[in-house]
Each structure stands twice: as C-alpha cells, then as structure tokens.
C-alpha cells in the first residue's frame, strides 16, 4: 500500500495552497461569517480565472482533465483554507449533473457559464413536507405547449439570492408512484413569478424560501426525461456527498490547539499541559485522521474507475458526525469562556469554536441526513433486508 500522493497531485496541491494563501484573506472569511453567504464573488471569479472551476473537466470543456485524486486535494485545500466555497460546490454539482443528464443545448449554453465563474446555481429540492423524503415533492409543473407552468414552494434554497439558475425538482405526474412522477428543470432565476424570502439560521448562514407562482419555463430547460427526475436526482446526489467537511474538522482542532497552547488557567498553567485537555485534543485528532482516510479511499476508488457510492456515504456520515461530536467536546473544554461569540473582546479561540458549534449542526442534515446515509450503508453496503 502507498499512502503518499503521486508527485503531480502534491505539485497541484502546492499551487492551490499558494493561491489560497494569497487570496483567502481574513477579510474574505470575516465577510462570509458576517453576511452568512458562503460564496464570495471576487474569490469565485479569481478561482475561475485560474481554471479551478473546470479543473476536473475534460479538455473540450476548457478543463484540465484533473484526476479524482487531484480534485480531492483541491477540495481539501479549499476547505482547509476556510474559503467560502459553498457556491462553487453547488455550481459544480449542477454542471456535472448536466454533463451526464443534460441536453446538448444545456451543455453548450449553461455549462460554459458555470465553468467561467459567471453563472451560479442553487438547489430546489426540499419542500415544507419533503425533506429526507424528497420524492414527496409537491411543486407542480404542468405542460402548456412548448412551456411548463410551475407552482410551488421550496425550502432551504441556499444562495438563491446569488444564483442565476435553480435546479428544480417538480411533480409532473400524479397518476404514478411518487418516484416516477418527478421531472427536473434548470430554471432561470430571472423569469417572472419567482420570489425569494431570506431565512436566517442558528449557524449564521443565510438560506431562503423560494416561491414559484405561475412560473413559465421553456421545455429546453427540462433536464432528463419527463417523469425521469428521480434518476437525475440520483446522479446529482453522488456529487453532493464528498469529504469537504474534513477541512472544517481540521480548522476546528487547530483553533482548539492554538487556544490550549496560548491560554493559561487561573494558576498560570498552560491548558495544553492539562491531561483533560490533551485527551480531548488527541481523541479529536484520531477522528480527523479516520475522516480523512475515508474521504481519500472514496477518491482513490473513483481514480480507479469504481463508483464509491457507499464509501462516499461512509465518509460523509463519519466526518459530519465526528465534526459535531468534536465541536461539542471542544466547546465544553473552553468552559464558560466558550460562550463568548466571535468578535467579542476576549472570546476564547476568537469565538470560532462557538460559531462552529452552531454551524456544524446542519452538516448531518444537508447532503443526506445521517439516517438516510445509514440506510444506504446498511442496505446497499451490508445487504441487510429492506427496512420499509
């Protein structure tokens, strides 16, 4: 076995790291934290100019044909740097899904804009009564000649206020079982009838509710077959479960180690010399390493032309659950001082652990809840009998 990465991957990583060090300034991180929008237009444009939005794409799309290992290194470095790249993540997953399930017109019209960093997307899956049971989607699309008329409501359309398109799951058939009556669209956000209502969250991120009232969408914006939306959804989900959260786990532990090294208790002793603190930090470090390896295993399988459906799900589950447990443990470690928020004078670890403690709660929800992930692992991975 070989755990070091090939030289070309390390070389690429070095380039990425240098770029991020120069461009992901404290100001960029601070701005994302303040606005709750984890997308930075300037940074995004610079990344596009460097060709990193399209790095993993074939050369005919202007990409660099980077391998899954290189792309995993890129994702890892972006999250390690603290860069607000949620917008990049969503745009890439939509572009990848269009590459597989989109029409020629969509590939020619929409993908280049995304890869150039000019077009942003948001995801319109969840609804008030369709969360993990996303196929319960009730937003209706009814055909009217060359157009479709859409009516409904979507929850948690994060970045809708920055997006040019919404990747919209709709119901087009009421006569068939729920999974078979869905159709996917990529709807321009500037058509009449779309309304965005901001929603603020405990974690500080801004998300939205989007309302669709008699929205008229040309049929060329339909992705995949009529009533074939579920299979498009399955394609898209493969691109959503990755190991992005590992970088966040490392940042969390770095904040904790820095605090323990620089802070002294009431008797003047460094916290890093306290066995209780040392045990917590060491335990977190083990979980970080396991999360990292589970993510790299999935990337390694992809590099060997295997589809790491179950293994990617394992990485997502393990990393986000560990992230949450660790945030919980490390804010306890700070004691009462852990309560001061970022920006407050004297906040322990500059308040970042408190901020992470709130933010991390959502990571076991989006991209597939831990329960959905466990179901996939149990039934597809272990072959256990279906539970429902």
């Amino acid at each position: 076995m070989e755990f070091s990465l090939p030289p070309e991957v390390e070389q690429f990583r070095t380039e990425v790291r240098a770029f991020l060090a120069a461009n992901v300034t404290d100001e960029v991180i601070e701005r994302a934290h303040r606005t709750g929008t984890f997308h930075d237009r300037q940074l995004h444009a610079k990344m596009a100019a460097e060709g990193w939005l399209s790095a993993g794409w074939p050369v005919e799309y202007g990409g660099q044909g980077r391998s899954p290992l290189e792309m995993n290194a890129l994702t890892e470095e972006m999250y390690l740097s603290g860069a607000p790249v949620d917008g990049l993540g969503v745009a890439s997953l939509v572009a990848h899904t269009l590459l597989i399930d989109g029409s020629d017109w969509q590939k020619q019209t929409i993908i280049p804009g995304i890869l150039a960093g000019e077009v942003m997307c948001c995801l319109g899956y969840s609804e008030p009564d369709a969360g993990s049971d996303v196929a319960a989607c009730a937003t209706r699309a009814v055909r009217d000649g060359q157009e479709w008329v859409v009516n409904g409501q979507k929850m948690f359309t994060t970045l809708a206020h920055e997006a040019h398109y919404v990747f919209l799951l709709t119901r087009t058939n009421l006569e068939v079982p729920k999974h078979k009556g869905l159709t996917m669209f990529i709807v321009p956000m500037d058509v009449p009838g779309i309304e965005i209502t901001p929603v603020s969250t405990m974690g500080g991120e801004r998300t939205n509710i989007t309302f669709y009232t008699d929205v008229r969408v040309d049929d060329r914006y339909r992705v995949g077959d009529v009533d074939g939306g579920w299979s498009v959804m399955m394609t898209a989900l493969v691109f959503e479960r990755n190991s992005a959260w590992y970088g966040e786990c490392v940042r969390l532990l770095d904040h904790a180690v820095a605090w323990a090294t620089d802070t002294r208790d009431e008797d003047g002793r460094r916290y890093i010399d306290d066995p209780l603190v040392r045990e917590r930090l060491a335990g977190a470090a083990i979980g970080n390493e396991m999360s990292n390896l589970l993510g790299w295993r999935a990337a390694w399988m992809a590099a060997n032309d295997e589809l790491p459906g179950v293994e990617g799900t394992m990485a997502k589950l393990a990393t986000t659950e560990h992230y949450q447990r660790t945030a919980d443990d490390l804010i306890d470690m700070l004691g009462a001082e852990g309560l001061r928020r970022h920006g407050q004078p004297g906040a322990a670890a500059d308040g970042w652990i408190e901020a992470i403690y709130r933010h991390c709660q959502v990571t076991t929800i989006y991209g597939g809840t831990s329960e959905v992930c466990r179901g996939v692992i149990a039934e597809r991975g272990l072959g256990l009998p279906r539970s429902r």
Binding site: D273, R278, I286, A318, G375, G381
Partner: protein, 336 residues
Amino acid sequence: MDLALTDEQQSLRAAVDRMLTKCSSPEQVRQAEPLGFDPRVWHELVEMGVPTMGVPGIGGAGLADMAVVARAAGAHLAAAPVVEVMVANRLLAATDREVDDAAVRTIAVRPARDHRFNLVPGAAVAAEVIGLIDQRLVVVDQPRGSASGPLNLGSAPLADVAVEVDVGGHPVRIVAEGDAAVAAFATALDEWRALTAQWLAGLGRAAFAIGVRYATDRRQFGVPIGSFQAVQHRLADLTTALDGATLLSDKAVWALATGDQMKAAFASMAFAAAGETAQQAASYALHLHGGYGFMEEYDIQLFFRRAKATCLVLGDPRRELQHLADELYGPAQDRG
C-alpha cells in the same frame, strides 16, 4: 496512493487464511482455552516462517506483509502470540543477536514495576521475554515449564515475569543499554501497536460479520431483525468506524515502514481506534444475539472477551491518548 494489497500479499493472506481456517476454528480456539496457546497453530506458523518473516536477512518480509498475517490471525483468534513473536524477533535482531530459531519470544509492552513485568502477552508460553528496565534492554530466559499465568478475561497466555534472579526470577541478559536500548524498544513498541491494531481490525471485522449474519438470519416479529432501522443504523455506524480504523491501521504500518515523520503518532492512533471499534463491534454483535450471545457455546463471546483483553494489555486506553498527545503536542510540562 494505492490502498490495494500486492499480488504477493494477497497470496500470503490466502495462505494464512487457509491454514487458520483449518487449525483455528472457533472449536479449536475453545479447545486451546484457558491457556490460549495451540501448539499446532504455532507449528504451522513456524512452518510458514511467520515468527522470523520480518527479521532482516532471514524473512525478507516488510511490515506490510506482517500486517497481512496479523489481520488474518486476529480474524481467526489464532491461539498464538503472533504479533509479539514477530516484533520481539525484530527487536532482538536489531541488537545483533541471531534469531533464526523457532523459539517463542515476546515483548513486555508495559514498564516494569518492582522488578516485575506483569501480565506480559505471550509470556506464559515464551522461552524469552524482552523488556526495557532502567534504560537496559533485557532478555529474561524462561526455562520450559517455568512460566505460568493467571486465568484471564481474554484466555490469553499472559504471565508475570520477574526480572531479577534474587527476587525469584530467571536468568537475565542485558542486550543493549542507554539511548540505543530506549530507541530500539520504542520502535518495537510502535510496531507492536500498529500490528496489534491490525490484529484488532481483523477481530473487529470478523465479529461484525458474525453479527450481520445473525441479524440477517434471526427472525422476530415475523421479519429478520436486520430489517429494523434500530439495528441497521448501529451496524452502519460500526462498519464505517471499522473501515476507518482499518485504513488508519494500514497507514500506521505504511508510516513505520517508510519512516514517516508521524509514524509514532499514527501507530498510537491506529491502536486506539482499532481497539475501540473492535470492542464496539464485538459488543454489539454479542448484543444482537440476545440471550444466546451470553451462552458459551456461541462463538461471539470468544471475540468479545479478546477484543477488550487485547486492548488492556497495554493499559488504560485513556492513558494511550495521553501518549498520543505527547507525540502530537510534545510532552506535557510539569503542572506542579
């Protein structure tokens, strides 16, 4: 990056697996209790060259090959101190001693107290016990039949070893002293951690497989219990943790073999992670059996007892986290 075994390692794994399927069935493991040593398994291991496989100039195998053997031995609960022998022979060879015989050797993994190494793994059947005392690497000779150990949780050949003749012990030879002795012993102990992690990864996965099989076959309320989400979700968490710990164990072996800067930290992480997950997997697999899991005639209890016992040989697992912290953040300064 390459996470696959080489062709040679796959052949090695198949050979060890075949031998242990024949010689180390659950019934044979029971037969070897309470001592936890089966002369036939030992004989087969010697025939395969396992004890000295990692000794430079004799076996020619690397740590990664030893890891393959350790993993398979753990999965079959082989009644022989496989890891201890491999590590002790390498340690002894590092002091320029010849070790091309088939003697059972072991390593005292915890420091001596009052001139005794207590509960040394394999010591109840070992001819030689190697340990570090007062910065001296010593070999304690144990004439055949002289050692005996207490009945213990894991039915393992543990024994207390006295290291001075005048306190009723056996002849002691010093084979290295000073910094060289300390460094050689530390390397051996990290190898023991990483290879025992492999042993535990094998044990954990095998215990888990018993649990999954039982959950698939056992029916209650008219359906297999493995169709209940309460069961499925625990199993999903466990298989994920087992994979993570196994990857970490492989990385630890790789780090030791390549002299990676973080090798000692990875060895410690692997031991802690593989130990914890093996215990959890064996514990839940036992629980899935309901009352049957508590019966001696079911195999899962063999795994359950050994999972805990193998970890405790090195001491309180939370103290191992303090050791890991030393590796990651430097030794703690005196807090007065």
